[in-house]
Amino acid sequence: MFNPIASLQRRTPLGWLQLSHQKGKLFVALAGIAFADVLMFMQLGFRAALFDSSIRTHNILDADVVIFSPQGLNFGNLATFPRRRLLQAQDVPGVAGAHPMYIANVVWKNPQTRKETAIRVVGFEPDFLAIKLPEIEKNLDQLKLPDTFLFDQETRGEYKQVIADLNAGKPVTTEVDHRTIKLAGNFSIGSSFGTDGHLLSSSENFLRLFPRRNVQSVSLGLLKLQPGADATQVVSQLKQHLPNDVLVMTHSEFIEFEKGYWQKNTSIGFIFSLGVSMGFIVGIVIVYQVLSTDVNSHMAEYATFKAMGYSGGYLLTVIFEEAIILAILGFIPGSIGAIALYTMARNGTKLPIAMTTARALTVLIMTLIMCVISGAIATRKLQSADPADIF
C-alpha cells in the first residue's frame, strides 16, 4: 500500500541537500525571491491602501442610508442637490431623520509652516451626530462657536507643533481664503489618495468659509432609520418617492460606490496590478536562473541516477522540491522586509498600509506558483540527462 509519509521519510531530501550544500548560491537565490516578494507586497499594499483610505470617511459616517447627486464622482467630488430632498425623504416610513453634510476641498495655510496646502472641509449638523468619532462628540460645543474647526491629526504634512498645541489645550489660528479660523481640537481620519486630511465643523461654519455655497445645496444627505426598519426596503421606497436628481444608497452600497470609482475610473488599480505582475515575472526569472543553473551543474549526477533505475519523475520531484523550498524560505525574509517597508510607508504617507493575513497568504501562494512555473521550465533540460551518454 502506498503511504506518502513513510515514503517521504525514506527518501533522501536531495533537493534540500543540493540547495544547502552551496550556501552562497542559496543566499543569493533567497535574496532574489525576497526581492520579488517585497515588490509584490508593496504593490498589493499600496493598492489596498488606496481603496482603504478612500473609504475612511465613509467608515465613520453614522448613517444607514445616504443620498447624493448622480453627478457626484466620489466623496471629495460630490455635486450638490436641493436640501428639499431631505425633507421629502423624511416622509418615507422607516426614516427617523435626514440631515445634510457639506463637503468641499480648499487651500489653507498650514498653521505651522504658513505654506498653502490643500485640505478637505466637512460641515455637518452638530445636533445630529452623523460621525462616529468620540473626539468629535467631546468637542461638539466648540463647533457651535463661529469659525471654529476640528483638525485631523492624521493629516499628511508637517503638523507636529499644531497637534501638540491642540493636545495641550492651546487653540491654533490660521487662514482659509483670507478668513481667520480657529482650531479647537483633534480627531483622526487620515489622508487618502484624494486628500491630505480633513477639517470638521458645523454647517454654519462651513457656509461662512464658502460664502458662495448655499445652505440649500447639500453635498451628501445622511439618513438614519427607525430601529427595526429594513434598509434595502426603505432605499427602494426612497427611490420611488424622490425625483431622479438624487441617488439613494445604503451605507455599504456607498462604500462600494467609492471603491468602484477608484477601481474603474482611475488607472491606479491597473498600475498596481501591473506592478504585481512585474514582481511576479522578476521572481520567475530569478528562480528559473537558479534552478536551471542547478540542473545544468548536476546533469551527470542526474544521468547517473537514471542509470541506477530512478525515473524521470523522480528527478522532477527533486526540482519541484527545490522550487518549493526556495519559495517558502524566500517568502520569510520577503514578508519581514515588506512589514518594515509598510511601517516606513505608513509613517511617510499616513496611508492605511499594513500587512494582512490574507495578503500574506496571497503572496505566499503567488510565490509558490512563481517557483513551480520556474521549476517546470527548468525541468525541460532534464530530458537531456541521458544515462547512455555518461558511459
Binding site: 533522501t12 551527470a300 549526477e301 541506477m308 533505475g309 558511459f391
Partner: protein, 232 residues
C-alpha cells in the same frame, strides 16, 4: 557456475544515425555470460565496446537480434521495462559520478532507495556496512570533494554493489586512477563480486588488470573477436 546465462546476446546488431548517415556500430554479436563470471572486454576506441555495455545495461533500447538480461528481452524494450532492469544492475563509470551535495553514505544510500522494500534503518546499516567493506568506514560522512580519486571510486563501487545486484557493468573504472589505486579498486570489485556471486562485465584498456578476468573478449569494428580464456 550455473549453466543458465545471466546475459545472453544473440545476433545483435546496432546502428547509429538515420537514413544515409546510418552507420552500423555492432554486427552480429554473440555472447553468453554466466552467473559469477568476470568478463573483460578490450578493444580500440570506437570499436563499439561502450555501445554494447549501454545496451546490456538497459541504457539504450536494442534494435535487432536478441538481448536477454536476467531473462528479460531488452531488444525493443520500453523505457519502463529498461528502468526496472537497471535497478538490478550496478554501474561503475569511468568518472565516479558521485553526487557532490551528498556524503559518501548518502551517495551509497541512493543505490538502495530505488528499491522500495528497504526501510530507512536497513538502508543506513547496509550502506555503512558496504563502506566499511571498501575501507571507508571512517569516511562515511565525507563529501566527495574531500576524498581522493581512489576513495571516490571506492564509494562508487560501494554504491553499485550496495543493493547486491546480479550484474555489475563497469566502463574503464581504473582510467582516472594511478596504477596502485587502480589495482586496489579492481581487486575490491573482484572480491566483493565473488562474495555476492555477481557477474561482472568490464570494459578496459588497462593491461595491468587483465589477470582478474575469467574470460577476455575482444571487440574490433563492432564485432567480437576470439574469446581468450585466461590462465588464471
Amino acid at each position: 557456475m550455473s549453466t543458465n546465462p545471466i546475459i545472453a546476446i544473440h545476433n545483435l546488431n546496432h546502428y547509429f544515425g538515420q537514413g544515409a548517415l546510418k552507420k552500423q556500430v555492432l554486427s552480429n554479436i554473440n555472447l553468453d555470460i554466466f552467473s559469477g563470471e568476470i568478463v573483460l572486454m578490450t578493444g580500440p576506441s570506437g570499436s563499439g565496446k561502450t555501445t554494447l555495455l549501454t545496451l546490456t545495461g538497459g541504457l539504450r533500447s536494442g534494435q535487432e537480434g536478441s538481448l536477454l538480461i536476467l531473462g528479460e528481452q531488452m531488444c525493443g524494450a520500453g523505457d519502463r521495462k529498461r528502468m526496472k532492469i537497471r535497478r538490478n544492475i550496478g554501474y561503475i563509470f569511468q568518472a565516479h559520478n558521485l553526487h557532490g551535495s551528498l556524503t559518501a553514505l548518502q551517495n551509497v544510500r541512493m543505490g538502495l532507495e530505488v528499491h522500495p522494500h528497504w526501510t530507512p534503518a536497513e538502508m543506513k546499516a547496509r550502506s555503512q556496512e558496504i563502506l566499511e567493506q571498501v575501507g571507508l568506514g571512517d569516511r562515511v560522512n565525507y563529501y566527495p570533494s574531500d576524498l581522493s580519486g581512489g576513495q571516490k571510486q571506492r564509494v562508487a563501487i560501494a554504491r553499485a554493489l550496495v543493493s547486491r545486484p546480479k550484474i555489475i557493468l563497469a566502463d574503464e573504472p581504473t582510467a582516472a586512477l594511478d596504477s596502485k589505486s587502480g589495482r586496489e579498486v579492481v581487486e575490491l570489485m573482484q572480491s566483493l563480486a565473488k562474495e555476492q556471486g555477481c557477474t561482472i562485465l568490464l570494459v578496459t584498456h588497462d593491461n595491468r588488470i587483465l589477470d582478474i578476468a575469467d574470460r577476455i573478449v575482444n571487440m574490433e569494428d563492432g564485432q567480437l573477436m576470439a574469446q581468450t580464456p585466461t590462465l588464471a
